[in-house]
Structures are given as C-alpha cells and as structure tokens.
C-alpha cells in the first residue's frame, strides 16, 4: 500500500472514530445522529429486508442504465452524422436538460405508475442525457486533419465515424458512463421515495414515517455500498476496453 492510500484509509478511519467518539461523549440522541457502530448493528439486524430492497433498486438502476446508455450512444452517433439536424436539436436538448431530473420524477410516476417501470424510465432518461452529451462531445472533438486524411482514402461518413470518431470518443464516453452509475442509483432512489412499494427509496421513506432514523442511516449505507460496487464494476470494464490509457 502506498503512502497516499494509507493516508486515505487513515482519513476514513479518523472520521469514523471521531463520529463514534463525539456521539458517545456528547450523548447525541440516535435520532439526531446514531454512532457508526449503531448503524452497522441495525444494518446487520435488518439485513434481509435491506438486501431485498437493495436488489430491487439495483435492478431498476442497471436496467435503466443499460437502456439509457444504448439510447444515448445511438442518438449521439446519429447526430454526429447529421450536422444540420444537430445544430437545430442540440440547443433544445440543452434546454430540456437544464431542468433537474428530480422535477420530472412526479410526471414519470403519474404516467407510468408506482411500479418499477417509472424508475427504469427515469434512470434511462438521466443516463441517456449524460451519455448522449458526453459521447457527442467526444465524437465531434476529432482532429480535422485525421478526418480529412481518412476521407482522402475514400472513407465515407460512416467510415470516418467507425474508424476515427468512435475510438477517439471512447474516453469521453466512458467518463459519462462512470458518472452515470452513481446518478442512476440516486435517481432510482429519488423516484422510489416519491412513490413505490419496494426498494431502498421506499425503505427510507417508510423509516422516516416511523421515525426510525437509524434504519434510514442503514439504508443510506447499503445504497452507498451498492453505488460504489456499481461504479467499481463499470470502471473495471472501462480499464479492459480502453486498455491504451
């Protein structure tokens, strides 16, 4: 382990120790701030329910993620080819995207019900936008000289797209894909809190209603761990695909 990682671990450890000490010494009531040990204990006690809820949220997040990433990528490639349409459409996309997703969540619930569908669509919506904007930026930011060279060898617009634009857009695209992992979990949870019968967002909402704040913290812990896992998984895939970084 190198020095930076050691200091990072020390920082995390210090935070947990400080948190535990402050809560115990100042006798903070658990509904204001439970100690880390209390959160871990509660997480362990209700682990079956939390895992069940976490699996539901992860299912919605990953399904929406896959749909949104595919849609965003295809749209970005289409618009990279069609310059006039892009000039017209892109500013409108930016306007629609400037409203926080949270504001669209009630609409999704009203249209698609309180089941998994509304969450999958919300996640696909946010991931689609993020991937679309990142991929388009990467697809368009190529060396014009390289594009001219390929064209002089007789490559058509598709040839330039496939041989030049897609490979050079990969790093930007993968940044979008990585950022989207955490966002997809957050959006799934946000939408679940507004209306659902299952999932971590529902667990949190229910725990708040029952004034069981330690369970809220336990659900937050599980949600963060799942987010981290999802993020790490996508990063591992990224290292394999963009091996030349």
């Amino acid at each position: 382990m190198n020095a930076a990682a050691a200091r990072g671990a020390l920082g995390g450890l210090l935070l947990v120790v400080l948190w535990e000490a402050v809560v115990r010494l100042a006798e903070v009531p658990p509904w204001i701030l439970p100690p880390p040990s209390g959160i871990l204990a509660t997480t362990w006690t209700v682990r079956a329910a939390l895992l069940d809820a976490g699996a539901m949220t992860l299912f919605e997040a990953t399904l929406g993620y896959a749909l949104g990433a595919a849609l965003g990528l295809v749209l970005a490639m289409l618009l990279a080819l069609a310059t006039p349409v892009r000039r017209l459409v892109l500013p409108m996309v930016v306007v629609v995207n400037s409203v926080p997703v949270a504001a669209y969540a009630p609409l999704a619930l009203l249209w698609f019900g309180t089941g998994a569908l509304s969450k999958v669509i919300m996640v696909a919506f946010i991931v689609g936008f993020t991937v679309f904007l990142n991929a388009l930026d990467g697809l368009l930011r190529v060396d014009p000289a390289a594009a001219a060279l390929l064209r002089s060898f007789g490559a058509g617009p598709f040839g330039v797209l496939w041989r030049l634009r897609v490979p050079s857009a990969l790093p930007a695209l993968l940044v979008g894909l990585r950022v989207s992992t955490v966002r997809s979990m957050i959006v799934a949870i946000v939408t679940e809190m507004l209306g659902s019968q299952k999932g971590l967002g529902w667990t949190i909402f229910e725990a708040v209603l029952q004034i069981d704040f330690v369970r809220v913290w336990a659900a937050i812990l599980v949600a963060s761990l799942i987010s981290l896992g999802f993020f790490a998984g996508v990063s591992a895939v990224e290292r394999r695909v963009v091996f030349w970084r």
């Binding site: 020390l10 409108m92 926080p100 507004l194 981290l228």
Partner: protein
C-alpha cells in the same frame, strides 16, 4: 444581441414544437397539455408561482455560493498540503456516492424546515465538482511561472491571488455552470420533506392532486430558476474571465 438570439431561438423553437406537436399529433393533455394552458395556469396563480420561484432561488443560491466557496478553499488547501489531500479527498469522493436525497429527511430534522436545510442539500451537491475542477486548474499552472514570481519576491499570498486563482478561474466557472443545476436539484428535493412553499412543494402538491398542468407549470418554474442562476454565473464569468475566448 447575438448572445440573446442564441438563447431565445432554442426556447422559441421548443415552444413552437410543443404547441405544434400537441395540436397535430393530438397528444392527450394527460401527457402534454398545450403550452398556452400551462402558461395560463402560471399567469392565473401568478403570486404563488412568483413566490415559489423566489423561495427556491434563495435556497439554491445560498447552497450554491457556500458550495462554491468551500470548493475553492478546499482546492487551495489540498494544493498546499499534500497529506490533507490524501486524507480528505477520498472522503469527498465517497460522499458523492451517498444518495443525498436519502439525507433529506435527516437534514430537515437537523435544521428544521428552514431555508438552511434546503441550502445544505444544495451545498452537498455543489462543493465536489468545484473542488475537483479548481484543484485541476491550480495543478495545471506551469511551475516555472510560480518560480518566476517567487524569484521576484512574491509571497505565497501574491502567488495565490495573482497566478493560481486567475489560472484556475476558467475551470472553476465550468464547474459552477454545472453546479447551478445541481444546486437547484438539491433545493427542490429538500422541499419534498415537508416544505409548504417552493417549486419542489408545488411539484409534490401537483403529484398528489394528479394535476398535469400544474406539474408542467412547476417544471417551467424550475427551468426559470435554473436559467436565472445559470445566467448570472455566465454573466459574472464573462466579466471575470474576460480572456476566455482567447484560450
């Protein structure tokens, strides 16, 4: 004038597309009511929408400014003290995987149903992008420039105010423009935990009453708040980073 045109054109196009699509494709008002109707609803209940606009704007701006300041200060501290950066930066990263919405209830419990509670959530979402970008901007400064200034007898403070901060400004503003939307999202979500006024509260009320027109009106109000913050940031950026176009 041209900048205004670039701003207005997509808005007008979008409005025309909205009205046109609803009329031509016979879209059910359950999905998309005509824009006229939505604007009419805003007009009819103007004081309420105006108040929601101001309240949410205030919450988002307080969190946004706090996030921006903390972001720049942390970046400066991380730049000067390597050990601090190694210790805290991983925590900053980890903090962003925590679904802040889940914290909403707890933060409202801590601060009560006040402006501060929503501003805290907006802050939580904004400080991280600013930290990352400001740090990247500071680190990108050529060490020879620092050495040159130092050879002229510049103090640490001089180097910070005259070289490091100005060099990092373009990246800081990139982060601030991104954070404008995040701060608004934080304020809206914060209002879901029992607030009675604000854009988020309006969205929730519209959801419970299943009023699609009111929901779209609230979405437009949210867009107006986001546009206002974004516009001010862009204006300040144009004045402060006047050399941007030369980059």
């Amino acid at each position: 004038m041209r900048a205004l045109g670039r701003l207005l054109l997509p808005l007008l196009l979008l409005a025309a597309l909205w009205e046109g699509a609803v009329a031509l494709l016979h879209i059910s008002p359950f999905y998309l009511p005509p824009l006229r109707q939505v604007l009419g609803a805003v007009h009819a209940l103007w004081p309420a929408y105006g108040q929601a606009f101001m309240v949410t704007l205030g919450e988002a701006v307080v969190g946004f400014i706090a996030g921006g300041l903390v972001g720049v200060v942390s970046a400066a501290a991380f730049h000067h003290a390597r050990w601090l950066r190694d210790m805290l930066f991983p925590l900053f990263v980890a903090s962003q995987t925590v679904p802040v919405i889940a914290f909403g209830a707890i933060i409202v419990l801590w601060f009560g149903n006040t402006l501060l509670a929503k501003a805290a959530i907006a802050f939580y979402l904004t400080f991280f992008p600013v930290t990352v970008n400001a740090l990247a901007g500071i680190e990108a400064v050529d060490p020879r420039q620092i050495a040159l200034l130092r050879s002229f007898g510049a103090s640490r403070r001089d180097i910070w105010w005259k070289l490091l901060l100005p060099s990092a400004l373009p990246r800081i503003f990139t982060a601030l423009r991104l954070s404008a939307g995040l701060a608004l999202a934080g304020a809206i979500v914060g209002e879901w935990f029992g607030a009675s006024v604000g854009v988020g509260a309006m969205l929730l009320a519209a959801l419970f009453n299943e009023q699609v027109v009111a929901m779209w009106a609230a979405i437009l109000t949210a867009a107006a708040v986001g546009g206002a913050i974004f516009g001010v940031v862009a204006l300040v950026e144009a004045r402060l980073v006047f050399w941007r176009d030369e980059l």
